[in-house]
Amino acid sequence: MQESTTINNFKSEEYFINMGPQHPATHGVLRLLLTIDGEIIKRVEPDLGYIHRSIEKMCERDSYQQIVHLTDRMDYLSSHINNEAVCLTVEKALELEIPDRVKVIRTIIGELTRIASHCLWWGVMGMDVGALTTYFYGFRDREMINDIFEETCGARLTMNYNVPGGLMWDIHPNFVNRVKTFIAHFKTKIPEFDRLLTENIIFQKRTKGVGILSKEDAISFGASGPVGRASGYSCDVRKYHPYSALDRVTFNESLQTEGDTFARYKVRIQEMWESLSIVEQLIDNIPEGEHRIATNAVIKLPKGEYYQKVETARGELGVYIVSTGTKNPYRLKFRSPGFSNLSLLNHIAVGGKIGDLVATMATLDLVIPDIDR
């Protein structure tokens, strides 16, 4: 195979192993071709496309209302935010004035989605490094959010609550109370997360100094979301290109400078606090008004190009629509955060141990359908 080298009088050789496509730590159908020398990783090459559905091609034949439904099959843990991204792009193109009520509700549900996604990530992160308990804690709290979504949106995961022009229907009468109950509940639970995992010395030793990404590389690789921010790269779309009601709330961008696995972990924990704070600022002040404004049954965007960025739980999602004035987009591109974040995996994993790869991947928080659009 490769040339042999001698380390401490033992011969070592590079060889390949497959990680995935069915592997518990890849959280989906991702296959990694690992070139390793003993336990040291020499190269990680992702093999993608196992669940590629060519959503971009499907969008070219669908109407804009239909496209919204396809987007929550990308990053299913940020489904509401994905829907919102398409709706915002369409609304921007049509120059629709969206009611305040819609903006506030969208932001509240968007931030709850982020918390739910981070809860799941936190549970799985612990599980990946061998702490199965966290999984149940994370899912317990996520369940409360899912119940709120079920009541208001009619679905727990792929919500389809957004439509171009507003929301599918108004919020459930219980919504405000249940969200407040959740805020009070979850404020006591994040410290529990910290006690259980963050402060665990074994966990810290597994994650500190592992998978380091510098700020320059983070920008060059197009990293976004918690992955970028853990490297000190200020990249929160909610700060730089605020959308919906995010311009009327105050929150801190969670930044860390170490760029290692533990930093990415801390950013997400911090983000849960910030998202709670955003929801708290808005929940008592949902303006009265329409939950939807009428659009034409057949939406035709004016000829032109439209781009909208949003911050999903994983990072920057971009929707790029090229319209020729017909009822379908001429071309629609999704710039997915997971795709760019995956591209840097080889860079940060090389030279590390194969066991650390699992921890590193866990903090990239990959959702495979988001990569295989």
Binding site: L48, G49, H52, S54, E56, K57, R61, D217, I219, S220, F221, G222, S224, Y233, S234, C235, Y240, P302, K303, G304, E305, Y306, Y307, K309, E316, G318, Y320, V322, R331, K333, R335, F339, S340, L342, S343, L344, H347, D372
Partner: protein, 180 residues
Amino acid sequence: MTNAALKELIASWFPNAKADMDHQNSDGDSDSNDNKESPIENPLEFTEEGSEFLNIQVPEALLHELMLKLKTHPETHFDYLFCLTGMDWEPALGVVYHLESTEHRHIVVVKVKTEDRDHPSFDSVSDIWKTAEFHEREVYDFFGIRFNNHPNLKRLFLTDEWDGYPLRKDYVDEINMVIK
């Protein structure tokens, strides 16, 4: 930087590209779409029509030079390639690059196209932005556009033996595609 200032600066890098700067307002974003009468030999074409960003159409020969300058020039400093899109404009094939500066927070869109559908190729920008390596592989996979000097240009999502390039407008697959 405003779009007008960006346009003036970028045009000055390529001396032939005197996009009618006298039509520009002295300050602020210019919404004027009257820059169509630029001399024909201009290498770069600027437009803001139908887009919220400044669009630059660049000939393929100048692509890499322009991109490197956009990244390295301190006043533009476009260090973040946030979107790289393959396009089939029928009959032209091309690539659209969305660039942002994390320092100045301005955005520009660079477009390059070729009429050659059989052997389309552009210079790779993966040496300038590392994220381009994956994105260019995706474009190669779905549009069949080759990128010169790409370190690892092979199909990313589809299998190597896949016939054709699915995101091209003239792609036909009677079994797997549902056309309405």
